[in-house]
Symmetry: C2
Subunit: 276 residues, 2 copies
């Protein structure tokens, strides 16, 4: 455990961005201590927002799962890639070909899916296969101005039976074969982080991102001027602590430890304030 007070607390923390998978829950199981941690934050009136790259389930389903697990959160507290993407598609008059889990198709109601002029990839689990990937490849090489969206670019995530490859791996293959560089909708894209920060009503330097992905939660947030904290839950691997480039502002056992240590640091500060 490395809780670098000096670095993390160099300035006040006014709000948090919390990853969902690996921080609040693993599959349908709450991460140890996270229910208590979120309740503590809520009882303190401490602002936070949930920010996820999850594209296997609609936002409403993720909210339902979280509520079922005991988290009192609602959709307005959450940021997911698909609604964000829909805004882009509408604004830029784009008609997507979708490589997504079929349960996500209903989320695209109102979007023209005929005669596609872009390709959208999200995590698709067993729907990633030779034919579906080839279809994306062929559509892209036939487009005059090919546009490829990837909902996140994560390398892997923690599945029920171990780590599994995420959309990033499949997207990199399509990028390689087509020569088309994907536009990322989700972490670590700057506009995605900054949207969440704006919704909270704070400046990037006032916000701390807490996630289990050293590169795209922690590194991505740091790139945007936030502080980034790595939890040792979810897909965390010991080698993450030795990442050659990304140095988290803190590494904690889990979200609960972060919240406890933050409160302790605040108490100490207050005591120092009283004694000064």
């Amino acid at each position: 455990m490395a809780f670098n007070h000096a670095k993390l607390l160099k300035q006040p923390i006014k709000a948090l961005l919390l990853d969902i998978s690996g921080v609040l829950k693993d599959g349908d199981i709450p991460v140890q201590g996270s229910l208590e941690a979120v309740r503590t934050l809520q009882s303190m009136g401490f602002p936070f927002r949930l920010i996820t790259n999850e594209t296997l389930k609609p936002k409403s389903t993720i909210r339902n799962t979280l509520q079922m697990l005991g988290y009192e959160v609602n959709e307005q507290d959450m940021q997911c890639p698909v609604p964000f993407l829909k805004e882009i598609l509408i604004k830029e008059n784009l008609r997507p070909h979708l490589l997504l889990h079929p349960r996500m198709f209903a989320e695209f109601e109102g979007i023209d899916l005929s005669n596609p002029n872009c390709v959208v990839m999200g995590d698709a689990e067993e729907y990633f296969h030779y034919d579906s990937l080839n279809e994306c490849f062929r559509k892209l090489i036939a487009m005059k101005n090919p546009i490829l969206f990837s909902l996140g670019i994560n390398k892997y995530y923690l599945d029920d039976d171990g780590l599994s490859m995420d959309v990033g791996a499949y997207c990199k293959g399509i990028e390689y074969a087509t020569g088309v560089k994907a536009r990322i909708v989700g972490k670590p894209s700057k506009e995605y982080f900054l949207r969440a920060v704006n919704k909270l009503g704070f400046k990037p330097e006032e916000v701390v991102m807490i996630g289990d992905d050293i590169e795209y939660d922690v590194g991505g947030a740091q790139e945007c001027g936030l502080r980034g904290v790595l939890v040792k839950t979810g897909k965390f691997r010991p080698s993450d602590e030795l990442h050659p480039k990304i140095k988290p502002d803190a590494i904690v056992e889990n979200l609960q430890q972060f919240v406890e240590m933050y409160i302790k640091a605040q108490d100490t500060k207050q005591l120092q304030g009283v004694s000064a």
Copy 2:
């Protein structure tokens, strides 16, 4: 058509390396003029060798197909990735996990496939899917010293119903997710080209490679000191002529045109020799 005599004929051509798919045949159909071209080369006693990244079929099957189409070639004239890989596996005491078309498994007779300490990927068509790719990913991240072989790193090839993604796309995804850089067995690896040149008994600068892959046939050969000629058959796309980095020593309609123009150039030279 761009047949840059000056560049291509700056020094004598003593032997040829010929790609199979896209140059001699597309699927089970001979490329127009190639049967005649190969017969002409054979009747001239002009040395050539077939060099392919094909891993969907055993060498013996490829030879049978070529013979059925009318090419009088035998296995000694051909270089395929799998036999080359087998030499490496034996030499380095490696036990592969195979992501290949199942019809290739018999080619690994005599190779220990238990408790794998490396992963081998080749074109697998519909056997590229979520579970098979995830299996490679999981085996690699569990290895202390992960080794990944890719049989070629091609982006796409011409299938019966259009262009299809090749092993390179899937390999790049695995590389991205695992952080392991693949060792390429096949074109454009230097040792693969130089093996073929050595078997011909010439120096790289005396040999011309003829292929339909601008990057891995033409560019790869040029990197090894050979000259590289692009045919406009197989997976050739008009954009290949505008490749920002790779400039073929010649671009020809097909193999037959190359052979005819080569013979014409030789005749002209001889005539010039006579008149001088």
